[in-house]
Amino acid sequence: MTDLAHIRSDFPILQEEMNGHPLIYLDSAATSQKPTAVIDAISGFYQKTNANVHRGAYTLSDTATDLYEEARARVAGFINADRREVAFNRGTTSALNQVAYGWGLNNLEPGDKVLLSLMEHHANIVPWQLVSRHTGAELIYAPYTDSYALDVDALESLLDENVKVVSITAMSNVLGTINPIRHIADAAHRAGALMVVDAAQAVPHMTVDVKQMDADFLAFSGHKMLGPTGIGVLYGKLDLLEAMEPAEGGGEMISDVQLDSSTWAEVPHKFEAGTPPIAEAIGLGAAVEYLEKLGMEAVRSHEIDLTAYALDRLGAIQDLTIYGPTDVETRGGAVAFTLADIHPHDIATILDQQGIAIRAGHHCARPLARSLKAPATARASFYVYNIRSDVDALVDGLEKAREIFGVA
């Protein structure tokens, strides 16, 4: 185990109290906390170098542009992409909509299929539904196995020549399952389909290499990886981005605007209509720098350790059911569970009273919740700043829930 305990002081919120207890934050799959380095990068930008980018003919604007483009280069490097392959936007949801509208709306036709999985987040379902209304394409879903792995055989058997897009999460935000993206990408490419990856949960928690994955498009959010809200990333292979139509139009993304039509700027600017999230990009750059200093190997092994410990201790609680793989090598640190007949929402309230923040509900994955026959689950999720004693507190809290609900 790589001990990251010493970094806790980098996160001011961990000094806060919650309902009379020290805050124990176990909801990083929803959003992560932010280190001082990130908070200061944002404040510092507004205090010293704030200006609009790509527009000004003055030094301040040039400095802001440099900072913004350096952030892009850093983010691109983090996933082993070229800087022209990285477009900033509002978040994973926004990035997946960009692919669905930019690529899907212009290329899908009746008879075409989009292959998703049953463990997708709404962000990787609803955009395809919206676009299929306009295009007549059909959505099909690959199931998961009894051990909560993606059923890759079933997926491959669904992959006929009508499938034009395969869009799959690299890591489930409910089950924790890490999916074999490279394997799926190879199968998708053999069938002539594009491989789109929802990496909202993967990029924050493990090394993601778009080349190794052979992803055609890949989406993630800043706020889940120590960065600010209001920013996300769409990665796309250069030739695909160059061929793709922009979904949004406006300033910055044009080469020329005539009264009845326009031509587009070079990638990635074509996909960044209007004033971009400048301070947020710089904040995300600082978050990536922070993660790079920790090292993604260390991040992953810290989480493997915590998750193993959590699975172990939670598994020992009577009447507790975990939804997700048991092998920590094939899963991330989101642990979904139910406890006897205590509703997850009640579990969350009882834990909250002890300062422990976990999430309860369908986790924006209703099709999964329905197929699990668990319309709601409780979910604890870990990140770099969590420690084993957080798990101990969680276990104590769950014992208290059993007590209050009189579960024998």
């Binding site: 929402h345 309230t349 009273q353 509900g361 209050i404 609900f405 009189g406």
Partner: protein, 149 residues
């Protein structure tokens, strides 16, 4: 804020053994309510005899608060007139601090004192996150009544 005040015995009892929990054969009115954020679901069905609720069903899935609230509500409205129910809804909302009361001064320690058994839900008032759970069946009830008109 005490958890024991929230999770009173009677609430857990209604959660585990919900009353009026079978669908009506051909209800005069019905409505489905759901809370998309936490996933709570409640269906309310009603039979009316003139102005009076002659039968009621409250069926759902969700947290103890929403389901107990539905169960206790079904008991409370059974046999009541439309007017009596309106008064009950008003008192409930005052207890939950969803509405201010124009008439009576509410005892902050016992805001539900006018509500009989339903008083057990008054602990929810101190858990703002959960008020919408307790409220869901009542909103659904009003819709079911409307649909019966």
């Amino acid at each position: 804020m005490s958890l024991n005040e929230l999770y009173r015995e009677v609430i857990l009892d209604h959660y585990r053994a919900p009353r009026h929990h079978n669908h009506l054969d051909s209800p005069d009115g019905s409505a489905q309510g759901n809370n998309p954020l936490c996933g709570d679901e409640v269906t309310i069905e009603l039979n009316l005899n003139g102005d009076r609720v002659s039968d009621v069903a409250a069926i759902g899935v969700g947290c103890s608060i929403s389901q107990a609230s539905a169960s206790m509500m079904s008991e409370a409205v059974f046999g009541k007139t439309r007017e009596e129910i309106d008064e009950l809804v008003r008192k409930f909302k005052v207890m939950m601090a969803i509405e201010e009361s124009a008439e009576e001064v509410v005892d902050p320690d016992r805001p539900g004192s006018a509500l009989g058994d339903l008083e057990a839900l008054q602990g929810v008032r101190k858990f703002p996150v959960r008020i919408k759970c307790a409220d869901l069946p009542w909103i659904t009830l009003e819709q079911a009544l409307e649909s019966a008109e």
